[in-house]
Symmetry: C2
Subunit: 125 residues, 2 copies
């Protein structure tokens, strides 16, 4: 079946983050992963990097992108361009949940802490 439902994000083992993997290796892909996430006000990802390109579409809310030591603000209907190996952290700086769609040029999505150690993800990617 090539047509599938879009699961509602459920709470993940990162405080304030709900996650659903909409497409990836479990759906038969080899090069792409698509994630739908919701982040509560004040929550943030860990500082991390991926060894693949990432694009985040902000669907609602507003946040802050820390990338390679710089800070950029973003909001609904803006796109984040995150080339592979960028040092990243994303936080919700608004008063409402921040809704995002994340797409990655790999599946599974390898994720690393700033010291280069692997960061195991609490979901199938």
């Amino acid at each position: 079946m090539n047509v599938i439902a879009q699961a509602i994000p459920t709470p993940a083992d990162i405080p304030g983050v709900a996650h659903a993997t909409w497409a990836g290796q479990a759906q038969g892909l080899k090069q792409l992963s698509v994630w739908r996430q919701s982040m509560q006000p004040g929550a943030a990802t860990p500082a991390h990097s991926h060894d693949c390109d990432e694009v985040v579409l902000c669907l609602a809310g507003q946040g802050e992108l820390h990338i390679d030591g710089r800070v950029q603000h973003f909001g609904a209907n803006q796109t984040l361009i995150l080339p592979r190996n960028s040092q990243l952290q994303i936080s919700n700086t608004g008063a409402l949940p921040m809704e995002t769609l994340g797409v990655f040029g790999a599946t599974p999505v390898n994720t690393f802490l700033p010291d280069g150690e692997v960061l195991p993800l609490p979901w199938s990617s």
Copy 2:
């Protein structure tokens, strides 16, 4: 700048199709392309394939996916999983414009006709 606007699709040189490339090589990526498209009722893509994985999120409307000789129906809030080298055609079978987000595991996105000839795209991919 890693935070960019999301362009509104504009008419492309395929009848009934409007297109905007939201992310790809022009934005500094090497592995991903993200397209936003709108397709008028009755319109269809050419029969084609890509040598990379593709995922299509249907945002609104309803359509028909022809893939490797089979037909599947889809609508708003469903996801199409399109492994690389699948033979594809997508049409809008509804009464309203069909709105989609397409993501690809490559940039540019190589596209081929059923006979294997390259299909030049009328947009930067």
